[in-house]
Symmetry: C2
Subunit: 421 residues, 2 copies
């Protein structure tokens, strides 16, 4: 294992094996294709065939054959050789393909997003529309998102092949059934988005739906296509109007028995606190959600994003007080979660990441006092480097990761050349 690049961890490899032995027995070729694809994905510096052979403990000849297959399918590309090699004929650097892309969609309480992402994790094109979708009509909202997606797809550069679409939703999702059971802030219950997005839009495009925080967390983990992060075990909080959450272990979202776990935004901070849209009281998002923070800072929701941060930076006492309230609530909720799941690394997304410099001192102090094991594993807080609508990116990543984790299946589905029609 020691020759594998850092992004390829033992759990990820083990996972691959377990998946493959589930429905069908993976052939050696299938496992090897996946291993080579993952190595090329995870290398920070584009590796040569020889580098891949070393990392995979395979012969040069075997790796060359596998790489040729991956190149033909568009999963891997050969980059330009360096201009001035030190000696001899330069090796060809291998990079993830740029032509296979996935569509990531997101419905948030505050925006609709559509984004096309390639296997390198690069955003090819995107469209984020702000709006107020509290208590919105699911059919109208999803039709509108479908229209956003359609306009995006129609303007797509030539030569790209869309492998599938993912949709991130702020609530309890039954992934296998394609069913959003409940999104408290949207006010949606029992919605099947595939139909409502518009048949014409999705024609032939397989749609996967998921919880926005679970999907966003995947953009930060070491398994993120094209840009492996350094983290394998962490708690993720999406800092939006609602606060979604995810528990990530060994690079995978641990969403629990039905896939409904990770709802850190609905950990109770004070049972006597304000009523939450979920029906409970004193949920974390009532103190640290974007609306709560803006209200406490005396700002309105129409102010541009980043407003709280600017006011805090300017020393505005109301903004600093609002952040102190949020940090107290975050400390209570996160300490409870860390005491139960024993994962002391927290990644703050969205506006929570933006205000981290002002949150951090108090939050870290309180976590040290509240987490039982803080003395031996002091909680660490980092800001997610995700940009807006990370759920949409994560939704695209799920589709892209499926190709990387099982290239043989993709090749089988599309034929050996994988060329764009």
């Amino acid at each position: 294992m020691s020759t594998l690049p850092p992004g390829i961890s033992a759990p990820a490899s083990a996972l691959l094996v377990r998946r493959s032995t589930g429905a069908r027995q993976a052939t050696l070729r299938e496992s090897n294709l996946a291993l080579v694809a993952r190595i090329i994905q995870a290398h920070a510096v584009p590796p040569s065939r020889a580098d891949v052979a070393t990392a995979a403990s395979m012969t040069r000849a075997t790796v060359s054959r596998l790489v040729d297959e991956l190149v033909a399918a568009g999963i891997v590309e050969e980059a330009a050789r360096p201009a001035q090699p030190r000696r001899g004929r330069p090796a060809t650097p291998l990079v993830p393909g740029s032509r296979l892309v996935a569509l990531g969609l997101q419905v948030d309480v505050g925006f609709l997003a559509a984004r096309v992402v390639n296997l390198r994790g690069e955003i090819v094109t995107e469209h984020v529309t702000p709006g107020d979708f509290v208590a919105s009509d699911p059919a109208a909202t999803l039709r509108r998102l479908g229209a956003v997606g359609t306009s995006l797809m129609s303007a797509l550069p030539a030569g790209l092949r869309i492998i599938g679409a993912g949709l991130a939703l702020p609530g309890i999702v039954s992934v296998e059934e394609g069913l959003l059971r409940r999104a408290p802030n949207l006010g949606w219950t029992d919605v099947r988005p595939a139909r409502l997005l518009g048949e014409r839009f999705l024609a032939g495009l397989p749609l996967t739906i998921g919880n926005e925080a679970d999907l966003a967390a995947g953009t930060v983990a070491e398994t993120a296509p094209g840009r492996p992060g350094p983290l394998t075990d962490f708690l993720y909080l999406s800092g939006g109007i609602g606060i979604g959450g995810a528990v990530v272990r060994a690079g995978r979202v641990a969403a629990g028995r039905h896939g409904w776990g990770g709802e850190i935004g609905h950990v109770c901070v004070d049972p006597a606190g304000p009523t939450c849209r979920c029906g409970s009281t004193g949920c974390l998002e009532q103190y640290a959600g974007r609306h709560a923070l803006l209200a406490a800072a005396g700002l309105t929701d129409t102010t541009p994003s980043g407003q709280v941060r600017h006011h805090a930076a300017a020393g505005d006492p109301a903004a600093l007080r609002a952040i102190a309230t949020a940090s107290g609530a975050l400390a209570v909720a996160l300490a409870s979660v860390i005491n139960v799941v024993d994962i002391p690394t927290v990644v703050l997304g969205g506006y929570l990441g933006q205000v981290l410099p002002w949150l951090r001192p108090d939050l870290e102090d309180q976590l040290r006092a509240r987490v039982l094991s803080a003395r031996w594993a002091p909680p660490r807080i980092v800001a997610a480097d995700t940009g807006p609508a990370p759920g949409a990116t994560g939704a695209a990543f799920v589709k892209l990761a499926a190709v990387i984790n099982d290239p043989a299946r993709w090749i089988e589905l599309t034929g050996p050349t994988g060329h764009v029609g």
Copy 2:
């Protein structure tokens, strides 16, 4: 898999395979010995060799050879044949061995316990000493527990073989290092119990330590030696002076990255609440721990166990108010945990299980309001049927399970006959 008895679940089998392929490649004989041992453990009605062959999908001859090995090692015994078979020669029922036993120890804030348990999960002998060990001296307390253990061992029936000892502790334990890092209610920090128990007592006996709730949870799970329970996924709460907790998934305690998770007793119920011994405020055990409940009910700690239940049964308003407070706090903490880990089954141990009839109505109502996914997976609360000091039983079970999960290793260590010296 469908021919396996209910106690042998797919996850357990998968686990077995994963463990075995870790350090060394399990031979077919090793895997088969373990499978046969587990089948005999899990069968509610003692199976014959033919039953085992069916369940394991092996030939009669192979199973007979494996069973003979397990019988010679004392891991399995042949029970008396039924007196009146329906037809032909009766098959010999196979049961777990009665001569291999493990010593389970427990230090609790309110008692010391030592218990000898056999492979059938039967208690051979035990000694539970009540006491007050709040802020006690670790050396003196563990010396005293060692003395309790010694008196127990010296009175052990002849013909038993002790395979090892386990020790349950109410705190943050580093299992691999044999180190108790912190037990807030005992006031202990950085204690290595193996040395303090007394060298003479433990002479040659391998000691494993663990968190009391993690170990107690193992006595309820489907993997419990000799008495497989029906549960694979649940939250466990130990109802003592402190409230320990465990998260169990697929029959295994999910104790997190360092093994320090599951501390449901230190989930914050109200940040403005009373200071906890852990240094935080408003922890669940400050509302629902035994001391808190007795104080709220106007009872003293010297009253016999079960006192709160008797007062509640008699309709004592103070006792009922105390239970209502505990139930409110339990609802807040458990809802937060279920929202994060998505496991809607809760097993209440100790006195919490005893007062469940009075806790249940309010607790279930509040959980339905506070758990996001309650509509589709309504939380279920059950009382653990564990008796006193379940941590001690669980500590013995860990040692016994090691023999069942890898009989080949045990046979290798002890020679083929496994007889008592």
